[in-house]
Subunit: 112 residues, 2 copies
C-alpha cells in the first residue's frame, strides 16, 4: 500500500510480464512475487488483481488451469500465444512511456 498513483495503469503490464517469465502462476503467487521483487514497495490488492486476471482471460490472453491442493484450489494462469504478443506490446509501451516522461521531466532529454 502507499503505492503512488503512477502505478495506475501498470497492473496489466506487470501481470503479463511475470507470466512471461514464470510460465505458470496463480493469483496469490503473483501478489507475493511482486511484493518480494519490489521489496514491499508495491502491494497488489486482490480487488485489483482478480478482476484483471479475469479480464485478461476473457480477452484471450490467458489460459487457466484449476489445480486442487488438498481441499483448496489454485488457478494457474498461463499466457496464450496472443497473450505473448500482447506482453511484447505492453513492454514496448512501458519503454515508450518512460522515454516520454523523461523528455517531459528532464529538459536535457529530448524525444528522438
Amino acid at each position: 500500500m502507499k503505492n503512488s498513483e503512477l502505478y495506475k495503469g501498470s497492473l496489466i503490464t506487470i501481470i503479463l510480464k511475470l507470466l512471461n517469465e514464470h510460465d505458470k502462476m496463480y493469483g496469490y503467487e503473483i501478489t507475493k512475487r511482486v511484493k518480494e521483487i519490489t521489496k514491499g514497495e508495491l502491494q497488489i490488492t486482490e480487488g485489483a488483481l482478480y478482476p484483471s486476471l479475469h479480464k485478461l482471460q476473457a480477452q484471450g490472453f490467458l489460459d487457466v488451469e484449476v489445480v486442487n491442493i488438498g481441499k483448496r484450489q489454485r488457478k494457474y494462469y498461463e499466457l496464450t500465444e496472443e497473450g505473448t504478443r500482447e506482453t511484447i506490446k505492453k513492454l514496448a509501451e512501458l519503454e515508450h512511456y518512460i522515454k516520454t516522461m523523461r523528455a517531459l521531466v528532464n529538459p536535457k532529454f529530448r524525444m528522438a
Copy 2:
C-alpha cells in the same frame, strides 16, 4: 489520443514539473507544450487538464493570476512554495516508479 493507460496518474506530475520549469503557464499553453515536447505523442485533454489545475489550486499547490488578452482571458498558474515541495516529491516518486517497474520487467535489474 491513443495514449497508453500508463499515463494515467501522471498528469499531476507533468503539470507540476512544467510549472517548475517555466514559472508561469496557462492551461492551453500546457497542452501545447506537452504536445510539442512529446512530438505529438501525448495529448492532454481539456477535460483532464482543467479539473486537475483546479484541484492543485484548491490543495494550495498553485496560485492563479487572471490576465486579459484583448477580450479573452488567460489564467496563469504558478507554483506556491508548497507546490514546489510537492513537485520535488512527485519527481522522486516518478524516479522510484521507474526503478520499480524496471525491477519487475527486467529480471537482471534488482531493487537496491
